[in-house]
Amino acid sequence: MPIWKDEKKSKREYVEVTPSRAEDLWLRCQSCGELVFRKKLAQNSYICPHCGAYFFLSAQERIASLVDEGSARDVTAPLVANDPLGFVDRKPYPERVKEAQRETGLLDAVAVVEAEIGGHPVVLAVMDFRFIGGSMGSVVGEQLCLAMERAIESRSPFVLVAASGGARVQEGVLSLLQMPKTVLVRRKLAEAGVPYIAVFTYPTTGGVLASIASLADITLAERGTRIGFAGPRVIEQTTKEKLPPDFQTEGFALAHGMVDQVVPREALRDELARILAILDGGRDGG
């Protein structure tokens, strides 16, 4: 999985890092080759203390890195994917789902928690790219809708940490329909006046970007993410265009007005806490 590495703040580099297994106490950084103690890594927002490379984050690790310790309550609905098309490519879809479940410990590509960030309650949905590329199928769509409905009910801001390669191809048009579905409930969130903050992490692309992820009140991009609708290969094949070197980087997105701020991973929690503190008028003496 290619992720971003910030070497002396000037060189930009993607490196392959194997997703970690929960039982490993020590992890080897694929960028500099050093062994890092997992606990230390967690304290350092999963950034290699030796070379600054960003380790890939599971949904669980991402949640832990963002919320106030001990505040998270898992509210992911107990839903699993059907196989409406009886889809078989090199593998049957149900098998892919089961494998991803085993690998990630998740039911599908998103985890939802109620938690606090800097003392401010939120409904937090975190997508996991390890689960079939973070693709949005029926379960992801439903989880996001349920999360937003929960945010409306509790009047807590909705925070989405996006990480997705796009639609869940194996569910066909039903997967495509998760775009209007999530947008519809985002409209309800807006009508209720509940804030929605999106965080784009590696990668935020395709149908997720072209629906729910692009419609936040406030949009942060984690440093090193990829943000774009179409894949670079598709673009090069279709248009024969030469892609600029910063194409679909977070800097490209910022330069083109697509995101409000680019945030280094280690600052993300504080940045969210600061925004939530401003919005939380009722608490701070309003």
Partner: protein, 318 residues
């Protein structure tokens, strides 16, 4: 078994012969009648065992009536509105005012070309940010003037390119979805050719979604799915089958409301008849939707999209 090439060759021969008879007055009526009978037989045979890959090729056939050809035949008048009021006018996604059964409405449609030159001008029906921004503008116009919205969908997908990404094509499609889903007027989408991915659903999230018989609607192109999932370009026919992109299949899944029958040989073999079918269906669905009170219309729309998807409750953690 009849293959596509044989059929196409015969179709071309018949067309040519008909021209000779009709325009040049050649006395070939007997030969023509014979060939026409043979063509009909072949067509029946071919269309009886249509594979999904055949459907993909039919849906993309450049002889198929394009957006503007349908619009001009389906509606009583059409006045084109151009431009997104910011970037430019995108010829791949067009729209304007139109009239049906004496009532005004707003129509949006993808535009493909027939000749290579046209295809280039319309970018093969792939619209960019300006196109989807124009769509948002015309949707808002429809909402403001309380005019129903009709969309005719025929695109391989949104245009992928540096300029499109620089102008936030993804965010613009999201805006389209958001606007269309909130319109206080009836909306009907007809997938008339290719319904390709995000670029299609952006203007297809309607109260009613209809499909021409040989149109396709898919989350990804079969070629794309073949490359990504099968790691094999030649797996496209297999992918087409797996993706469930045909109109009958999508009707079975409850994703679309109605399959609009095409003439034998496909829409291009009788564009007038095809347009008449679309027209009649639009009249019926618009009349049904227009009779609903606004809150009912909106709650039905809400239900339709809120419950889209297929999943089940967990019976025991995996």
């Amino acid at each position: 078994m009849v293959d596509e090439a044989t059929l196409k060759a015969l179709e071309e021969k018949v067309t040519e012969l008909r021209r000779l008879v009709e325009q040049d007055g050649l006395a070939l009526d007997d030969e023509l009648a014979l060939l026409e009978r043979r063509l009909e037989e072949l067509r029946r045979e071919y269309f009886a065992k249509l594979s999904d890959w055949d459907r993909v090729k039919l849906a993309r056939d450049p002889r198929r009536p394009t957006g503007i050809e349908l619009v001009e035949q389906v509606f009583d008048d059409f006045y084109e509105l151009r431009g997104d009021r910011l970037l430019r006018d995108d010829p791949a996604l067009r729209g304007g005012l139109a009239k049906l059964s004496g009532k005004p409405l707003v129509v949006l449609f993808h535009q493909k070309g027939k000749t290579l030159e046209e295809q280039k001008r319309y970018r093969f029906g792939m619209a960019g940010p300006a196109g989807y921004r124009k769509a948002v503008r015309l949707m808002e116009l429809a909402g403001r003037l309380r005019l129903p919205l009709v969309s005719l969908v025929d695109t391989p997908g949104a245009y992928p390119g540096v300029e499109a990404e620089s102008h936030n094509i993804a965010g613009t499609i999201a805006q389209c979805l958001q606007t269309m889903l909130g319109l206080p007027v009836p909306t009907v989408a007809v997938i008339v050719g290719e319904g390709g991915s995000g670029g299609a659903v952006a203007i297809a999230c309607a109260d009613r979604v209809l499909m021409l018989e040989y149109a396709i609607y898919s989350v990804i192109s079969p070629e794309g799915a073949a490359a990504i999932l099968w790691k094999d370009q030649k797996a496209a026919p297999k992918a087409a089958e797996a993706l469930g992109l045909s109109a009958p299949k999508l009707k079975d899944l409850g994703i679309i409301d109605e399959v609009l029958p095409e003439p034998l040989g496909g829409a291009h073999s009788d564009p007038q008849a095809t347009a008449a079918t679309v027209r009649t269906a639009l009249e019926r669905h618009l009349s049904e939707l227009s009779s609903l009170p606004l809150d009912k219309l909106l709650s039905l729309r809400y239900k339709r999209y809120r419950h889209a998807g297929s999943y089940r409750e967990l019976e025991g953690r995996p």
